[in-house]
Assembly symmetry: C2
Homo-oligomer: 302 residues x 2
Amino acid sequence: MAVTLRQIQAFLAVAELGTFTKAAERLHMAQPALSQLVRELEHALGIRLFDRTTRRVELTEGGREFQGASAKIVHDLDLAIQNANDLAERRRGRITVAAPPLLAAAILPEAIAEMRERFPGVQVAVLDARTDTIIEAVRTNRVDCGLGTFAAVEDGIERIPMARDQLMLFCSPGSRFADTTVDWRELRGEPLITLTRDSGIRLLVEVAYETVGIPLVPAYEVSQITTALALVEARLGVAVLPTYARAAAPHRRVLARPLSNPTIARDIVLIRPGGRSVSPALATFETILRRYARRLAPADVD
Amino acid sequence: MAVTLRQIQAFLAVAELGTFTKAAERLHMAQPALSQLVRELEHALGIRLFDRTTRRVELTEGGREFQGASAKIVHDLDLAIQNANDLAERRRGRITVAAPPLLAAAILPEAIAEMRERFPGVQVAVLDARTDTIIEAVRTNRVDCGLGTFAAVEDGIERIPMARDQLMLFCSPGSRFADTTVDWRELRGEPLITLTRDSGIRLLVEVAYETVGIPLVPAYEVSQITTALALVEARLGVAVLPTYARAAAPHRRVLARPLSNPTIARDIVLIRPGGRSVSPALATFETILRRYARRLAPADVD
DNA sequence: GCTATTCATAAGCATATCATCTGAATTCAG
DNA sequence: CTGAATTCAGATGATATGCTTATGAATAGC
């Protein structure tokens, strides 16, 4: 004979209210049904829980003992259910997102701020790391998702495109490129500020120069995008950088111009462990993230 | 949508075994039924508990959290049920019995010893007190039952006759009464050892003397039954005492002879709060107690 | 590419659950 | 002391719930 929660609820209601009839009302059921539940429980436990005359119902010693224990159980269960509901309703939760430093600086702060505003109970943690570290962290579940421009991603990892990022020419406001769409060929002979060769962007730029057949001779070679932008602002040359570089230093007086023939674009994608369910909080965060990603790189996706 | 224990058991089995099919086997049910239970639980909680592909089932983050909470709840419940069963099976329990000192010394020790032997988990406590205190203690539920010779008992208190106790003549082996049933009238002029006037027994003796019309002149007046028996043993007189006085000093060399015309008898009764249920341990103790009571005062009851 | 395994879905059916009605016991009012 | 009212227990029938069987879809291994 199995003990059920319903029996326990019936028992607790009777124990609290002291009468079967009132307890039945509270539980929205008929009194005989409730009598039956209590009887079943007594039978399952092997002890009488109530001494009942027709006029008075009171707990036996064993009943009082069981009341304490079962009240705690019911309370714990309510708490557990409440916790689960909190997760479902995004009142609680924890998201860890990995992103390369630039993207982390460009997109994440605003997205996190909005998330914090709308769902104060959800904690968002950031891991800024290099691309390969990010993939590793996603695969080993150390983070819930990763943001970046990932070329080929192994399987077992899901890819969700967020926005399309395009290489652009960054120049100073007075530059001769300031008002037009720029063709790569126009860059011949222009002093070029590049990133160092360990950067993925530098690689793309080299490919493009080679494609259009002009030699790449760096005027300056720096490792940080912000440094490159500072040099551009100082009119020491132009730089070819991804769209989202604009967000890295919004206060700088530099312009970004589209580069065409060829247009070189990469997807900014969110990756996360495949096959696993997406927590409600993470699902919301993804949509927020996509909005801010597109605001930075408004080119259409797919 | 209500959460049921069955759903939780299903969930825990799947969480532990990692597959629905195996869990269904353990729970002795078909796999679809178990799938349904888990689905219902997920729906009630608002979160997915498992990430399931057809090949792999693993807990989500929320699932793991709920697993911990619900496992504790199920464990607590099992414990509570176990405790109740222990009470039912007399593996555990506590009985407090009140009795006047003499009865407490005469009957209770052996009864308690047997109880302890058969049900080691049940604690039996003794409160030795005067008759009126006993009744009061029973009425206020400070003790579970009381033993004694209670004349009229108020209602709200149940009376269970245990044995019939009779006034007897206690004399030394060499006395002229040693071999016969004694008539009260034969006591005329015999040196009588009595209890002091605050004793209920003394009262009965006075009534009997008056009834048969002989004067009561105490040779000695003592307050303890054991003292009276010692004086009898020393051949200083005879004493009129209840049957169970024999048990008070089994080593003494005194004889007890029935007293007739009139035969004065009282019931040794067990009293306990009326309308309340009798715990399994107490029920057992009552039968044990009755056996020992009858052994002392073998006269039939009712 | 085929088979075996695993979980989800659908439909039918047995069982359990609950509400209504009725009865017994007790209390309270007159 | 009698009658009304209250309260819990029992019996019966309608409804609902839960389980099983049968089937389908997806994946991994051979």
